[in-house]
């Protein structure tokens, strides 16, 4: 009996490691940008192409920045969550239209609605690189000082919004 005890223990430990590994999502990488100032950019707006948008305009406010594209399927999934959030008015949400075609983006917005205050256009994806975007949708929580406090990779779900993002936003708004 004793001679089986050690292999069994090793087996249990290995199974334990594998079981934990299965619950992790390999696509969710910890962002090195959390806790650092949001990269500076100045991009033309989608609707009013004459105007630009830069994160400097948001100093003193807690806000969400969502990278989105009309070609992105998962963006449709999170869209109702943003529409709902925009109606609540709890936090301003801005978007960057990532590597998209203008006419496609406009068509998409007409069909599904626009929850964002301003949509900036990152046609080349260069600002996306500065933010470490590697798959849309991605959503950043940025505090009053312009520091990234949280990064959501993949579609924003209602439970993540209620459980993580909104509590964080409320806390940051108090600061």
């Amino acid at each position: 009996m004793n001679r089986f005890l050690l292999p069994l223990a090793i087996f249990v430990v290995v199974v334990g490691f594998l079981a934990v590994g299965l619950t992790l999502n390999p696509r969710e990488l910890p962002s090195p940008l959390v806790g650092k100032p949001a990269p500076y950019f100045s991009l033309p707006q989608l609707y009013d192409q004459e105007k630009t948008f830069s994160p400097n305009e948001m100093k003193g406010k807690v806000w969400l920045l969502n990278f989105w594209a009309s070609w992105c399927e998962a963006c449709k999934e999170e869209h109702p969550v943003f529409i709902h959030l925009a109606q609540s008015g709890e936090v301003p949400i801005y978007a960057i239209d990532y590597k998209d075609r203008r006419e496609d983006a406009l068509k998409w917005l007409k069909q599904w609605g626009n929850p964002w205050t301003v949509i900036a256009v990152d046609e080349s994806g260069r600002v996306g690189i500065d933010f470490g975007v590697y798959g849309v949708p991605e959503t950043y929580v940025i505090d009053k000082a312009g520091v990234i406090r949280y990064k959501q990779i993949g579609p924003l779900r209602e439970d993540i919004l209620q459980g993580k993002i909104l509590p964080l936003v409320r806390e940051l708004q108090k600061q």
Binding site: R27, L29, P30, P32, L33, G125, G128, I129, F131, G135
Partner: protein, 153 residues
């Protein structure tokens, strides 16, 4: 007629195969890009290098690296640029850090554990063999059996 045939046969050679991606003009830049890109991971298809991947992000990053090479930035600075944005995950060779100690030392620890276990098991086995002692009578019998065996054709 024969000439016509020759001309017809020559036509396909005009349709030469095109490169999948037009390489940049400067072969030195390309060589450095390749040297760097095989060490970097594509974030989208995570088991491919930046050199192998055809994902749009990988293309963008290659373009970005090309520009940095053109600006004469060092390999170290270029890799830093990517690590600052995407974390250590972009590196195929993870750096030596407190969090990666186990990753680097793990194989050696396993080797040491295996070697120790092997030595212990072998020693125990040897002890068991040494414990067997033969009496005089048994010894004679063994000698007799062995000599009988040797005489057998």
């Amino acid at each position: 007629m024969r000439w016509l045939l020759v001309i017809i046969l020559l036509i396909p050679s005009l349709a030469e195969a095109k490169e999948a991606r037009p390489l940049a003009d400067n072969p030195q830049v390309e060589a450095r890009l390749k040297h760097l890109a095989v060490e970097l991971r594509c974030l989208v298809c995570q088991n491919q290098t930046l050199a192998d991947s055809n994902a749009p992000l990988a293309e963008d990053l290659r373009r970005e690296i090309r520009e940095m090479i053109a600006k004469d930035m060092s390999d170290h600075d270029i890799i830093d640029f990517l690590v600052q944005r995407y974390g250590d995950f972009v590196l195929y060779r993870p750096p030596w850090k407190a969090t990666t100690t186990l990753l680097w030392l793990g194989p050696f620890l396993l080797l040491i554990a295996g070697a120790t276990a092997l030595v212990l098991v072998l020693r125990r086995r040897q002890k068991k063999l040494a414990d067997v002692t033969l009496s005089e009578a048994e010894h004679n019998r063994v000698a007799q059996l062995l000599s009988e065996g040797a005489n057998r054709p």
